[in-house]
Amino acid sequence: MAEFSKQLERLEAIVRRLESEDLDLDEALKLFEEGIERLRVAREQLQQAELKVKKVLEIESPS
């Protein structure tokens, strides 16, 4: 789930691009859609997550 930070980084990049550049509408719409989708996924992850705990010794040598 280091993916979450990538997700957020991508989101920030989308917002910045959308805010700063003179995009044609098609491109802007595409970015917007991607942003909204990523935001939805991120929110879902935040709200549904439950802590997973693994004990490494048990995984490696189940004795």
Partner: protein, 381 residues
């Protein structure tokens, strides 16, 4: 036994050394051959002079050494007493004025106050410092959104429970990877090192090394140079949460962050998901606003184009209308009605055939005559 005369003869006046020369030479040999070192022994004949300098001997069963510790080195130390076992860090030298071989003491630690531990600690710390492992510049930043958090600690202690509770509340997106280790006792050093080794190869974003408080002996594994070096060599940032605030261990010193408690370590390792959710909200607003702005250009252009289209069409329509009027006038001029108006008439038979010639109009032929304001019937006579 008739030899003494020969000896005197061999030692000419120029060849004999002065006392000072021998002392200086002896001092040079001693200082070159014996760099500063740690010496253990029992304090004897301790005397503190008014100047603040300390003079005493260190001895063991079979030998003793003169020692001096100057005021600027000893001013923070408790005064040792005769019979006390101590460690000193000292520079062996020669006190030329008295011809004494002596130690110039720079540090003095009593084993009675955990001095032994402190000695080992200081030695290891110096070694770590020498290799640059204590440099503040080495400290890495913790990841903002950790995916995998590894924990090295005793598997059933309160430490793990605390960390799990905090991470579960703040950042349950993470996966907690627990690598149990013995954190106390003779095997602790090896156990912690092997746990660290295991984690080294795992894709982990941040590592917490944790242990509850204890006596300095209990915490000893985390003061081992081997463990400290293993911590320093970890590829991911390490948070150390060992003992309580007052006990700084070597492990604390080499870690990227020192936390006072395991809970604090877990808190430092994780973002708060409520805050991240709020952040997501802000991003959403920015997205919507940015799209509005991005589409404004297009809307504006569309409006402008629409306006041009309208005005263009209006122009066309007016042109057409003007042409239509002109054609209308022309048509009007050509209209038969206008001709009738000028006094002409049109004659037609019952079928509606226009009668233009005399031959079409024999005597008695009936016809209808169309004049400008109506029709009348007629007959040829």
């Amino acid at each position: 036994m008739g030899q003494p005369l020969d000896l005197f003869a061999a030692a000419s006046a120029e060849g004999a050394w002065t006392v000072s020369e021998v002392s200086r030479r002896a001092r040079a040999v001693i200082e070159a051959g014996l760099p500063p070192l740690w010496v253990r022994g029992e304090v004897a004949g301790f005397k503190s002079w008014r100047s603040g300098h300390w003079y005493f001997s260190l001895r063991d069963k079979s030998a003793q050494l003169r020692c001096v510790m100057f005021a600027k080195q000893n001013f923070r130390l408790p005064v040792p007493t005769d019979g006390m076992q101590v460690f000193v860090f000292a520079r062996p030298s020669m006190y030329e004025e008295k011809g004494d071989f002596q130690l110039t003491v720079m540090e003095l630690l009593s084993t009675e106050q955990g001095g032994l531990w402190k000695l080992a600690f200081e030695k290891a710390k110096a070694a770590l410092a020498k290799d640059g492992l204590l440099e503040p510049g080495r400290k890495r930043r913790l990841p903002a959104f950790p995916g995998r958090i590894a924990v090295v600690t005793s598997p059933d202690g309160a430490v793990l429970r605390d960390i799990q509770a905090v991470v579960g509340r703040r950042w349950p997106l993470a996966e907690l990877i627990v690598v149990p280790a013995q954190v106390q006792g003779a095997k602790a050093e090896a156990s912690v090192c092997s746990a660290l080794n295991r984690i080294r190869r795992l894709p982990v974003d941040v590592l917490i090394v944790g242990r509850g408080g204890g006596s300095i002996e209990d915490l000893w594994a985390f003061n081992s140079e081997r463990v400290a070096r293993a911590v320093a060599a970890m590829p991911m940032p390490v948070i150390s949460a060992i003992g309580h605030e007052t006990d700084v261990t070597l492990c604390d010193l080499v870690a990227d962050l020192r936390a006072p408690t395991p809970s604090a370590a877990a808190e430092a390792a994780t973002p708060d998901r409520a805050e991240v959710l709020a952040q997501c909200g802000v991003i959403g607003q920015r997205l919507a606003r940015a799209l509005r702005i991005a589409s404004r250009h297009v809307t504006d252009r569309l409006a402008r184009t629409g306006d041009r289209l309208t005005s263009c069409m209006q122009h066309r329509i007016e042109q057409s209308r003007a042409r239509l009027t002109a054609h209308g006038a022309h048509l009007d001029a050509l209209s038969p009605l206008r001709v009738l108006g000028r006094g002409y008439a049109v004659a037609r038979d019952a079928d509606g055939t226009i009668l233009k010639r005399v031959a079409q109009l024999p005597t008695g032929k009936e016809f209808r005559l169309r004049v400008s304001d109506g029709e009348v019937d007629g007959r040829v006579q």
